[in-house]
């Protein structure tokens, strides 16, 4: 029997994947482990490999199609096997599953165990249909089936008004008209297109709800202050869309408070100079301040476990591991690879890992596990002329450290003014979970470690 190929769920936040390309054509033979297609998730581009061997019988989606997780994107089976013409709908039970391996093949018996009756699952989800009980097939007249075929409508979604719920032509037509483009005059369509207004949401004042130009104009958003008719428009998608959503979500759900402090980096600079050569020799990479700050943060977090926390529902989770996210700017967005168990790693190991992860992030080659499990994030803008900023927390973490540039400033040292290399650290924390004093204590600890970096040896 033909096996479904599902859109995998590759992260806890992934809801849809965008099909980037197929590596196989319909009719091609596929081995287990062969790359089947590439998708773009909210975080990464990734190749999806086949779990089955056989012939790729069907691909339902093309480039740029967005497919919800656990939806069937195609079928693998034996040549000549019959598979549905249209992609089966989301399998209700499979969508609930977190585990990819479990969701790959929802068995009817599993569904039963979960108290989901067979009839509530659309027929097509159970595969090629040859073994499915007759009663699962939607009852529909030949005319209804023809119209559904012509209008590309999945019959199982259409409520039937005929005897015994039989779906009739009129039911499909009614379904089609309520699920397709609204009626609008040609002029209204033109205006809507020019103004970038969606016809879907507009209430038409014409007969049978037909949309007129005046309706479109009435529904139009207030004109932007800057007329940008001539400007380039790029659809927010992929990483950009996710960054937008997550930053907005973080700022609106977590009350951000930011503390700042200035760190004298004299000692840290000295240490870096001393270690630079040997680390470069060992790893082939140059030690940067990022790794030093990473190591210092891990050291401070170890002493202040109340910062290394997450809010999950009503519970504060105190993380045992110290996994530090590193905000990396990439084309069109921001990625946060995670360096695991930073407290257990030396500076040379950290250097090698940070450089590797940074490159993978810029090349969109990060694996899902390299982006998950972070407990605290560091955002370093020190390479720019930025002194201080207020970073936005990378949820579900509870705090983030913003790092500014190292800049020589006159500071008072023992009654005299001296020029010292100063660096501003900003700590944004979620005030629901962390209060000001412990946050301040942590930041103070971090400042202390960076100003006396040999403490890292302790």
């Amino acid at each position: 029997m033909a096996k479904e190929i599902f859109m995998p769920k590759l992260s806890s936040t992934m809801e849809v994947g965008t099909m980037i390309q197929w590596f196989k054509n319909e009719g091609d033979s596929v081995e287990v482990g062969d790359p089947l297609f590439e998708i773009m998730t909210d975080k990464i581009n990734i190749e999806v490999e086949s779990y089955e061997e056989g012939i790729l019988l069907k691909k339902y989606f093309e480039e740029d199609d967005e497919v919800p997780i656990n939806h069937v994107v195609g079928y693998i089976g034996e040549a000549g096997e019959r598979v549905p013409d249209d992609p089966p709908g989301e399998s209700g039970a499979a969508a609930e599953e977190e585990d990819l391996s479990d969701s790959r093949q929802p068995e009817v018996s599993d569904l039963k165990e979960q108290g989901i009756s067979e009839t509530s699952v659309p027929n097509e989800t159970s595969g090629a249909g040859e073994n499915s009980p007759l009663e699962e097939k939607p009852r529909a007249t030949p005319a209804a089936r023809r119209v559904a075929r012509e209008e590309n409508i999945v019959l199982a979604e259409v409520p039937g008004s005929g005897p015994n719920g039989r779906i009739q032509q009129g039911d499909v037509m009614a379904f089609a008209s309520s699920h397709t483009a609204p009626k609008a005059t040609p002029l209204a369509k033109k205006v809507a297109e020019a103004e970038g207004v969606e016809l879907q949401g507009i209430k038409g004042t014409g007969s049978q709800g037909k949309i007129y130009r005046s309706d479109v104009e009435g529904a139009k958003q207030p004109a932007p202050i800057l007329a940008s008719a001539g400007g380039k428009r790029v659809k927010m998608e992929g990483i950009r869309k996710v960054v937008a959503q997550r930053m907005h979500q973080s700022k609106t759900t977590a009350p951000h408070v930011t503390l700042t402090t200035e760190v004298d980096m004299t000692e840290a600079i000295g240490m870096r100079k001393q270690l630079l050569g040997s680390i470069e020799q060992q790893t082939g990479f140059r030690l940067s301040y990022t790794e030093i700050i990473l190591k210092a943060s891990a050291s401070a977090l170890k002493l202040h476990p109340n910062i290394n926390v997450s809010l999950e529902g009503n519970e504060i989770v105190f993380h045992e591991e110290i996994n530090l996210g590193l905000a990396v700017a990439v084309d069109n967005g921001l990625m946060v690879p995670v360096v695991k168990n930073v407290d257990q790693k030396g500076l040379s190991e950290l250097t090698a890992e940070c450089k590797r992860l940074g490159k993978a992030a810029r090349d969109s080659k990060l694996k899902p596990d390299e982006m998950s499990g972070g407990t605290f994030t560091i955002s370093n803008l020190g390479m720019y002329a930025i002194d201080a900023f207020t970073p936005v927390i990378n949820q579900p973490e509870s705090a983030i450290l913003g790092v500014g540039r190292i800049n020589e400033k006159p500071v008072g040292v023992n009654g005299a003014i001296e020029l010292r290399p100063m660096m501003v650290l900003s700590l944004s924390f979620d005030h629901r979970v962390i209060d000001g004093a412990p946050a301040a204590a942590f930041l103070t600890e971090l400042k202390e470690v960076l100003e006396h970096p040999y403490k890292l040896l302790v």
Binding site: T141, P142, A143, R145, R146, G162, Q168, Q169, G170
Partner: protein
């Protein structure tokens, strides 16, 4: 235009054909001075004489055998059976001889004859004089089967039947005899195998034959009051059958009811229904096809039971509502 009854239209067709072609003659029981069981040939013996309006002994086998022989020699006989039920006695000649001869002799002999006969119930003539046996005849390769429902059709189709070089069974429904319609005086013929749309509609197609065309028209008028638009197709000839007109109509309305008076079981309605199921119209069906036909009983003598044994206007109305979920 003048109106004729169905019976008069049949007579006019006969007379016109006989005037035109000396090879045409009629034979049957009591068709001469008496004018036939229902009076179709009344007065014809005066014009054409006993040679061409030939009374016969009471033997359908003899009548049909004579007709087959005469047809083979180049005449164009028209035989009248008093009741279509008696075709059983003529069956050997019709099925084993008339239908096959042209095929068996590779076209070297032909049988240009017409068997005219009144069919159907509604006259209190009971079980042996009221049957509708057209499906039997339609089953036989080599026989053409005609079932006109109106005076106009009767005249035109009878002329085409007489002109045909093959044996044609021409069923005249007894209850149709008194129905009237406009019939032109001039010669015209209606080709065999061309259905007629008796009424145009959009919601459901009713294919009806003979007297059922009239009942369907009455039902359609009633259904129209409830906003149901009925299209009525009269095939007029079962063999050859105009499937195209029926298919197009079903594609338009998406629903089909077939109504005939003959017993539903094994009736010709099944043929029409399966023709649609096999055709491109299948994908346009929005309800199961419905067949209305006579009950599987001999036609009763009691007038009420006689009515109950065959489809009536009310049955057609209910069937249409049912197929449209409007019960």
């Amino acid at each position: 235009m003048r109106e004729l009854t169905y019976l008069e239209a049949v007579r006019e067709a006969l007379s016109q054909e006989m005037r035109q072609n000396d090879d045409v003659f009629i034979l049957g029981e009591d068709i001469g001075v008496y004018g036939g069981a229902f009076g179709v040939t009344r007065g014809m013996i005066e014009e054409f004489g006993p040679e061409r309006i030939r009374n016969t002994p009471i033997s359908e086998a003899a009548i049909s055998g004579t007709a087959v022989g005469a047809a083979l020699t180049g005449m164009r006989p028209i035989l009248e059976l008093q009741f279509s039920d008696f075709i059983t006695i003529a069956m050997d000649n019709m099925v084993n001889q008339a239908a096959k001869i042209r095929y068996m002799y590779g076209g070297k002999g032909k049988v240009p004859m017409v068997l005219r006969t009144p069919a159907g119930s509604g006259t209190g003539a009971a079980a042996q004089h009221s049957q509708s046996l057209e499906a039997w005849m339609a089953h036989v390769p080599g026989l053409k089967v005609v079932q006109p429902s109106t005076a106009y059709d009767a005249k035109g189709l009878l002329k085409a039947a007489i002109d045909d070089d093959n044996p044609v069974i021409f069923y005249e429904h007894k209850l149709c005899y008194k129905t009237k319609s406009e019939v032109p005086e001039e010669q015209y013929s209606i080709p065999l195998g061309k259905a007629d749309i008796k009424r145009e509609g959009t919601d459901v197609t009713i294919v009806a034959t003979a007297i059922m065309v009239h009942k369907a028209l009455e039902a359609a008028a009633e259904l129209e009051k409830e906003g149901i638009s009925v299209e009525i197709i009269d095939p007029r000839t079962l063999v050859p059958l105009d499937t195209e007109t029926i298919i197009q109509s079903v594609k338009k309305t998406s629903r089909l009811i077939v109504v005939h008076e003959a017993v539903k079981r094994g009736g010709f309605g099944g043929e029409i229904a399966s023709t649609i199921a096999e055709s491109e119209a299948f994908d346009y069906l929005d309800a199961p096809i419905k067949r209305l036909g006579g009950k599987a009983v001999p036609i009763p003598y009691n007038p009420e039971l006689e009515k109950a044994a065959v489809p009536q206007v009310g049955d057609i109305v209910s069937a249409a509502k049912e197929i449209l979920n409007r019960q």
